[in-house]
């Protein structure tokens, strides 16, 4: 048997200039916030961006962005759900709503293949991917299926986060997946540890995102979220990354 979806993925992503996965080895460091914030900030800056939520059992990007989940419209595939001008979202939550989705490894792989094969992103400056924590099926599949894959790694200044994220960076290097930079999230002027860790691993320090008490009240309101200092900082970091040269 031959699975045709892999060839379909290359065609679906043909109009996308950059595919950037937001990763971390640790849960709760703000990957989804950084991915959603990056999407908002880049869209505000006039770029056309897609956001794919691949945290299948705990999809949350739509909650950050206030996108009402519904079955997608069709146009020779399925269309991502519009969020704000320039930003559209695809998520397993569009199909499962608020129901639990417990999948085993091969089922995760099938879901990723299917979403990538049938989602019509069209022409986009970037497709941002909100990843689940760790290096599981999602990361391994993306590295296999999307040759142009690049990553932004998110860490907090916490010692625990630093230790496990350093292992993630080593794994990404081993997998030859380019790391565009490490974002230090939820900082209170204490992002130096993340900077040093990035330097130790030979990857760029992408910037320090301040801890922002305004995030919680702005959840679900893209206008309010987009105006937060933390989101502006993510936008500056991503703008610099996208404006810079691609890592080899």
């Amino acid at each position: 048997m031959i699975d045709p979806r892999q060839a379909g993925i290359r065609r679906r992503l043909a109009g996308v200039r950059r595919v950037i996965a937001f990763c971390s080895a640790k849960g709760g460091v703000g990957k989804s916030f950084c991915a959603a914030g990056a999407g908002l900030a880049l869209a505000r800056a006039g770029r056309t961006v897609g956001l794919l939520d691949l945290d299948l059992p705990a999809a949350s990007a739509h909650l950050f962005l206030g996108v009402q989940m519904r079955l997608p419209e069709e146009d020779r595939g399925i269309l991502p759900l519009p969020c704000v001008p320039g930003l559209a979202l695809m998520s397993a939550a569009a199909f499962t709503r608020e129901r639990a989705l417990a999948l085993r490894g091969s089922e995760v792989s099938d879901a990723i293949l299917e979403l990538l094969c049938v989602t019509q992103w069209g022409r986009r400056d970037a497709l941002l991917i909100d990843m689940p924590p760790g290096i599981g099926e999602e990361a391994l599949d993306l590295a296999r299926l999307v040759p142009q894959l690049e990553t932004v790694v998110v860490s907090t200044p916490s010692m625990v986060s630093l230790r496990v994220v350093e292992r993630l960076l080593a794994a990404l290097e081993q997998m030859r997946v380019p790391v565009l930079g490490v974002l230090a999230n939820m900082c209170r002027g204490d992002g130096d540890g993340v900077r040093r860790m990035a330097e130790r691993r030979g990857v760029a320090f992408a910037g320090e995102i301040p801890y922002d008490p305004g995030v919680e009240p702005a959840l679900g309101d893209p206008a309010a979220l987009g105006g937060l200092p933390a989101v502006r900082a993510i936008g500056e970091a991503l703008g610099a990354i996208l404006g810079g040269p691609r890592p080899s």
Binding site: P4, L56, E74, A100, E107, C117
Partner: protein, 136 residues
């Protein structure tokens, strides 16, 4: 409307794969490539066939090489070992069926083992679209 359906993305993937696998398809006879359509995904065979024919005409592959075959869906419950088919899932709502049509893995949000109620089941066969080796 038929031009918009999501079956086109799958047909496009089938054509791209066939081109890569069989080149110009010089050695392929009519109906020699079987496209298996899993019952779970409930692909509209008429639309898929139309899309395949239309996209074939734009490709280097010869016309009529595809033969569509439906593969019945079969579930296996991991905790209790119960096997069952889609006929026992007649209670699925239209929107749930549509969700499974787009993303078959969303079945795990809606389908439960008829014996023990577990969502921990595997789709043993009949999941989605695949290609059988030519001539097989």
């Amino acid at each position: 409307m038929i031009e918009c359906m999501h079956e086109w993305a799958l047909a496009d993937a089938v054509i791209a794969t066939a081109q890569k696998r069989f080149g110009g398809g010089e050695r392929l006879s009519p109906g020699s490539v079987t496209v298996l359509v899993g019952e779970l995904q409930a692909i509209d065979r008429e639309i898929l066939a139309f899309a395949l024919d239309s996209l074939l005409a734009e490709s280097a592959l010869p016309a009529g090489i595809f033969r569509l075959a439906t593969e019945p869906a079969a579930f296996l419950c991991r905790p209790c070992g119960r096997r069952w088919g889609l006929a026992e899932e007649a209670g699925l709502a239209a929107e749930e069926r549509e969700a499974i049509h787009f993303l078959p893995e969303s079945a795990h949000a809606f389908v439960r083992c008829p014996s023990c109620g577990s969502a921990d089941f595997s789709v043993e066969k009949g999941r989605g679209v695949s290609i059988a080796e030519a001539g097989s």
